[in-house]
């Protein structure tokens, strides 16, 4: 370990940051030591960073999908939310979240080191992993915004998105990825989730469900007779761009999760990711065509995302045909989910739960079915993950089922508590009916999204 001691006179003029009189770096902040020990590090760093950048870009994708599927009068608000959840997420994950999730394990429940990336955590490798993890944490928060769109108060949004990145996501994340108890279940090789169908998507999607339930439907979504009256989004091209960006970003999300370019399995992961998305788009397209006689762009776009979410857990453990099958099922599932929510009068404007929640859970479970026994736990080395269809028996499937149930319950309960607290703190979580009718853009943010275009909301 590179060690360096130095007396620093930390003046911190005017900033009130005079706390660092003595510094010792137990980490390797320059990277010189790390490189010496592992000459292959540069390509891994490049891989992980580039993938992290791609995942970051998914924020734009989410912003565009959600905003496109909602009305112009709330477009500023949705941009603001998708920006600010990443902002709050970055800061919260820097201060606390990362330490809880990836710090040294404490009884299988949470991590305890790396606060503020300070001290020993000032190390090129720690910073690298943080960079990759932070974009995942923010994704979980971002997913929620779709389900609560067009009616949640902005401060409530800030509040819960901090909580997601600070606590809710990191703790379940620790259980699966940080060496926590789920990863040590005595079934299969323990619960696994390659890139986060559960950790990221099902967590986010389930909280979105809770949010949508607690807020109630948007004014006008269901008429007195209980009929669905769809509220059309304001820009299908924006939504489509969002999906293209997400698909693009997902190539960082899944293959990047090896955290190493020396795992050549990355090519298989990329192909599986692509095929599942394609297959799900196709099955959603056909399902809607058969049901309504139209080539439904909105649901086909949701289909793509459903396929991507579903393949996220199994991407490294299955082969191409399985990715196609997982995707085909995902495409149907998302359609059924959207229809089901409408039946239940739960108004989820962009399909956050059917896409991320339902398919996140399906992805987690699918590992227990399709894992083909050629790949291990982020390594080519044994033990390999084998599912039911490849002769692995029920072990892995049971681990996956437990993990899925825990994931849903954890997110649901945490979500419920979070929004309940918010209700008290912010005097209700929903904007007034007047504000909802006029749109939150002008009232909360002072600016309509498209002032040049005459535009009447109804």
């Amino acid at each position: 370990m590179f060690k360096k001691k130095r007396w620093l006179t930390s003046l911190a003029l005017g900033l009130g940051l005079a706390f660092m009189a003595y510094r010792a770096y137990a980490g390797d902040p320059t990277g010189a030591e790390t490189l010496k020990k592992d000459a292959g590090a540069p390509v891994d760093y490049v891989w992980v960073l580039v993938c992290a950048f791609l995942v970051f870009f998914m924020q734009a994708g989410f912003a565009f999908v959600e905003s496109g599927f909602c009305r112009a009068k709330n477009a500023v608000n949705l941009m603001m939310k998708n920006l600010m959840d990443f902002v709050m997420g970055s800061l919260a994950f820097w201060a606390v979240g990362y330490a809880l999730m990836m710090g040294n394990d404490w009884h299988g429940i949470l991590g305890t080191t790396g606060w503020f990336l300070h001290g020993d955590a000032y190390d090129v490798h720690t910073y690298l992993i943080w960079m990759f993890e932070v974009v995942f944490a923010a994704t979980a928060a971002t997913i929620v915004s779709g389900g609560v769109a067009e009616r949640i108060k902005f401060p409530v949004y800030l509040f819960y998105s901090i909580l997601v990145s600070l606590v809710i996501y990191p703790i379940y994340g620790h259980w699966v990825w940080g060496g926590g108890w789920l990863s040590k279940l005595p079934f299969g090789i323990g619960a696994v989730d390659f890139a986060g169908s559960g950790v990221v998507h099902a967590i986010g999607g389930t909280i979105a469900l809770v949010g949508a339930m607690m807020l109630g439907p948007r004014i006008g979504k269901y008429d007195e007779k209980g009929n669905v009256k769809p509220i059309l989004g304001h820009s299908m091209t924006m939504a489509a761009l969002g999906v293209f960006i997400l698909w693009f970003g997902w190539f960082g999300f899944n293959p990047g999760s090896t955290l190493s370019a020396h795992e050549l399995r990355i090519s298989v992961i990329a192909v599986n990711t692509n095929l599942a998305a394609a297959a799900a788009a196709l099955s959603a397209l056909i399902f809607m065509k058969l049901k309504h006689g139209k080539w439904d762009l909105g649901m086909t776009l949701n289909g793509v995302l459903a396929g991507l979410v579903a393949i996220t857990a199994p991407c490294a453990w299955v082969e191409a045909w399985a990715a196609v099958v997982i995707g085909l099922i995902a495409g149907i599932l998302v359609c059924l989910g959207v229809i089901m929510l409408d039946k239940l009068h739960i108004d989820d404007p962009v399909g956050a739960f059917p896409v991320h929640g339902l398919n996140g859970l399906w992805g987690v479970i699918s590992v227990g079915l399709f894992a083909d026994g050629t790949y291990g736990n982020y390594t080519t080395a044994a033990p390999h993950v084998i599912g039911l269809f490849y002769g692995g028996g029920l072990g892995q499937l049971i681990a996956q089922l437990i993990s899925a149930v825990v994931c849903f319950v954890w997110a649901f309960v945490c979500g419920w508590i979070t929004f309940s607290i918010a209700k008290g703190l912010f005097n209700g979580i929903r904007v007034s009916p007047e504000e909802e009718l006029e749109g939150v853009d002008i009232i909360e943010h002072g600016t309509p999204a498209y002032p040049d275009f005459q535009l009447v909301k109804h």
Binding site: I442, G446, Q454, V456, K457, H458
Partner: protein
Amino acid sequence: MKKVEAVIKPFKLDEVKEALVEVGVYGMTITEVRGFGRQKGHTEVYRGAEYTVDFLPKVKIEVVVPEELAGKVVEVISRAARTGKIGDGKIFILPVEEAMRIRTGETGKDAL
């Protein structure tokens, strides 16, 4: 024949339309407009500077009806569009001398 022109709040459009259909109006034309009136625009902020929104979004409904229906139509619109808050809008009645249905060439009341 009369033309009834109503400027209303946009979110009231559906209610007004349904009320009109109930009293036997078969057609109408709507336009997106902006209104200036007693309902003062708000002061908003854009990139750190304040500005006033003078013109608020409204919807204009135009219905041409036989003379005898005009009063009813005004009543129906005013009932459906009313919230009681400032900015609910106005209704005007204008004379119409002739009407024609392009498809058939019918004129007068038959054209409506």
